[in-house]
């Protein structure tokens, strides 16, 4: 029961993007299409799970004074693996994500989970925590990307939803659209939270 909670908390209650506002750079930058969003989410989830497992295995060997450089080194190794694997198997996706794949290293979610969770908990729990946070992160990007792709191109996952005569709202896939979409979504979430609070 408790193990499942470690997994589910990252998806809604402690969603890294909407609730904790971590790792915003890739969320806004790659959410121009749902396909990019899935790619980025999968890459980040892989790194998050692997680094959480490794750091929780190594937690007794890493001296606490130099722990941050050690974590960064572990994370950077996994990011390099993802970077090379994507370049080999999905070159178009690798190209459209660009420098945001190496930049997963400095994504605050991953270092944050290593510091706050994996360095204090067991391997299995850390793995579930990483998986949950990764899925939460992926869902958040997919939600934002769906809105932007729908308004900006009229498609979702390259499947046309709106008729071809729809005049796309180009601003939605340009940078301003990203900021305004996430601002409105966060506002919506806090309306829901306020309602919940006033009920309780």
């Amino acid at each position: 029961m408790k193990a499942i909670q470690e997994f589910t908390k990252g998806i809604i209650k402690e969603n890294p993007v909407f609730v904790m506002a971590l790792g915003l750079c890739p969320v806004l930058a790659v959410s121009t299409s749902v396909q990019n969003a899935i790619g980025m989410g999968a890459a980040a989830t892989f790194v998050l799970v692997c680094s959480n497992i490794f750091i929780s295995l190594l937690k007794n060997f890493i001296p606490s004074k130099v722990r941050i450089p050690c974590y960064i080194l572990v994370i950077a190794s996994f990011v390099t693996i993802v970077d090379m694997a994507m370049e080999a198997y999905v070159p178009p996706l690798h190209k459209s994500l660009g420098i945001f794949i190496p930049l997963i290293v400095v994504n605050c979610i991953i270092l944050g989970r290593a510091e706050a969770f994996a360095s204090k908990n067991g391997v299995f729990k850390s793995m579930l925590d990483g998986l949950g946070m990764g899925v939460g992160f992926m869902l958040a990007i997919i939600v934002i990307a769906s809105i932007r792709e729908f308004l900006g191109v009229g498609t979702i996952l390259d499947i046309r939803i709106l008729p071809a005569s729809y005049k796309p709202m180009i601003a939605a896939i340009l940078p301003p659209g990203a900021f305004i979409t996430i601002g409105l979504l966060m506002g919506l979430l806090s309306i829901l939270q306020n309602k919940k609070k006033s009920k309780a």
């Binding site: 506002a21 971590l22 915003l24 750079c25 890739p26 806004l28 930058a29 941050i68 450089p69 960064i72 080194l73 950077a76 190794s77 990011v79 390099t80 970077d83 090379m84 660009g98 420098i99 190496p102 930049l103 290293v105 400095v106 994504n107 605050c108 270092l111 601003a171 340009l174 940078p175 301003p176 659209g177 990203a178 900021f179 305004i180 996430i182 601002g183 409105l184 966060m186 506002g187 919506l188 806090s190 309306i191 306020n194």
Partner: protein, 200 residues
Amino acid sequence: MDFSTLFIIIIGSIFVNNFVIHRFLGLCPYIGVSKKMDSAFGMGMAVIFVMTMASTITWLIYTFFLNKATSIFGIDLTFLRTIAFILSIAVLVQFVEMVIKKAAPELYKALGIYLPLITTNCAVLGVSLLNINENYNFIESIVNGAAAGVGFTLVLVLMAGIRERLEYSKVPKSMKGMPISFIVAGCMALAFLGFSGMKF
């Protein structure tokens, strides 16, 4: 030395491809440290300094150690790019912090708390990677690093100015804090889109 190329890089990095607004790099400090003008300015200065230094050092490391054609070892180590860059940036920031603490205590007091935060600022790693991707030479890399820092400071200070005013204005309860900041950032991005029409 061709000064017009340098000029284009400077204008490009400050206005057209602004790191925060256009490339979505360094959003955490952009939202996190933009509540007060003083701290925004301090953070901006620290970022300009570190970005210039980081561009210099990572360019040297890439050219003399990693890139096969110019490396002193003559082997291809480009896959180590991410790890080498993030480690050298972390070491650099630590070193800069120690030097400033000894040499200029006044400056350290002003910048002190912002320096450690910069290691995980994705804009610093981003500018290092972009310099390599764009095939900039040594001088161009340094100039690009400094210009990117200036662009970052510009939008950070603008944002801090707007947010100081926002404190006194009537914002709907659920939009307070983060959501309204993102909407403001969106408006700023719309304004900056005007620069993207500039062609040289």
